[in-house]
Symmetry: C2
Subunit: 337 residues, 2 copies
Amino acid sequence: MPLNIYDISRRAGVSIATVSRVLNNSPHVSENTRKKVMAVIEGCGYVPNAFARGLGLNSMQTIGLLCPNASDPYLAQALANLERSFRAHGYDCLLSCTDKELSARMQGVELLRTRHVDGMVLMGSSFIEAEDRNNDFIREAAKAVPILLLNGSFPCDNVYGVLCDDQRAACEATQLLLDSGRRRILYLYHSQNYSGRKKLAGYCDALASRGVELDESLMSYFGEDKTSVYQVRDHLLALERQGLEFDAVFTSEDILAVGAVKYAIAAGKKVPDDLSIIGYNNSSYCLCCNPELTSVDNKLSAICDHIVATMMGVLEGREMPQKTVFTGEIIRRGSTL
Amino acid sequence: MPLNIYDISRRAGVSIATVSRVLNNSPHVSENTRKKVMAVIEGCGYVPNAFARGLGLNSMQTIGLLCPNASDPYLAQALANLERSFRAHGYDCLLSCTDKELSARMQGVELLRTRHVDGMVLMGSSFIEAEDRNNDFIREAAKAVPILLLNGSFPCDNVYGVLCDDQRAACEATQLLLDSGRRRILYLYHSQNYSGRKKLAGYCDALASRGVELDESLMSYFGEDKTSVYQVRDHLLALERQGLEFDAVFTSEDILAVGAVKYAIAAGKKVPDDLSIIGYNNSSYCLCCNPELTSVDNKLSAICDHIVATMMGVLEGREMPQKTVFTGEIIRRGSTL
DNA sequence: GGAGATGCTGTAAACGCTTTCATAAACGCT
DNA sequence: AGCGTTTATGAAAGCGTTTACAGCATCTCC
């Protein structure tokens, strides 16, 4: 039987209203009473009941984190960053992992309806559909609480995007390959989501900027499961057998680039001499390969910090920028010339 | 202004008690009223207020997940598994990441005191200290809610351990190295926690079983930060310069084994011909190396499933085994003969 | 036909806070 | 001294549930 606010009020010789005011840092308490009440509170280690507080305030200082795939080290890193930072601001995080995009939507809505989270972070732009009518769930949720998009952008009130300029970064990565003499650059991607489309656009931009013609047969899609390393390797081997020529690979995720390295090993090609490879995310996978992977650092920790700052700002009623764009940076390692 | 239980009771022509009974599947409701009330509830999409419910029941169906390092792919995978499974049972998960062990304890207690979680999962045995008096926080927390240990064991009421027999698995892994002719086996480990100690014991068991003398200079400790890949590489290079001889490496985590591969590359040694390497966890890092890493699969997903099942059992008042041990399995890949 | 079960439903009291409103005290001013 | 203003406090009404308890039919069985 933990203590309640009545116990404190009795011991401090004040009313529960005063105790409540002390707890909530209300200015309408004299310095004297504040001290007296605080002394009692600390003396007996009283902690206000969060459920009752939630009932009164209709909030429990909770943020929902919707994560499409927590086992991806990149998103896992984001998860850790976000959680730590929100906690520092006094907010706890409810996690909601999900494989399938459809259920992701449901879970987001559920989190809102059943847990009354104060805000949600959609981690990864896979939440944003190309077909706009499928995005109603975001618009709907945004009516209730602020929605923050990690690596996405969406024009809607109360929705805030914090992202890397993937188009530009992808363009620069591709240009790096082109400018080292490569002409047949494979583009491998995981999913056709918001940032996936941006990266593709950047890839095209780069080709255009160097006067290289786009060849659709150089672009391949892969599912999101764990076996994609082998999938990529086998796919590239198959392409080679079919006579397709390529001298570089650019991927939308590091794990796919790992697959490209596997291919090179299987095909007896030297990286980067015979095949240049650039990944995306600059995740811990990059250091595991030999040679180590050149990759695009898309400023995850800055993005996470900014997401938390924006969420806090919005929750405190401040005006916040609807879209913040960071500039990616290519981290050159051994997989490129 | 969402609907409340009074709105439903009015529309259904019953009292709020009856509505509540319908919502909680109480048997004391006639089939007729149940149907009538359900129809109203579904008709208007009513969802009971979780805060009020929490206040009444002193529970919000929430599990606290204490994760020492969410950016580790292995733990991230566990996080995803646990969350999905708890959600399927109607429980949401509050995440609490932490780098430092001390603050981990604080956060666990805080989660309990401020959030009234119904149970906690301590992910990774780094929560269990070698010095027993430092484990009071577990004992304390266990008085309030069931505590589940992922990869740990702790003799205390209301604390349940689900783990892999790391000692045996480490022994078998080391024996595998010994039986392929290796005699000078480095053991690299991340931290001196519960499972760290077990693995060490297994390593020693294996040496004893084959009559090989233990050499303390073959054991090295590394911190937990991300740079450990390079740390390991440089450390091994230094050992080599000092004249220490070794023909195999066994590590407590895959990421350290990746560092050993880096060392082999830097030192111009062939894996596995000049140097055999075995990691631990069978994480996604294993596939990134060349050759791919032999590693101990410690049955993460089985452990996670069992954690959730045990937690649910305890919460439903059933008797549950205090300790469940899975048997690890060595996954042989290219880094061993 | 009435006593005693049995089954269903409603009333009202928690649960532990926040917050509005009223009141009382203290203060400054003429 | 008297008045209006400001400041500090308390009483009480929510917030939306759960649940103990009471009440009322209906039924069973002598």
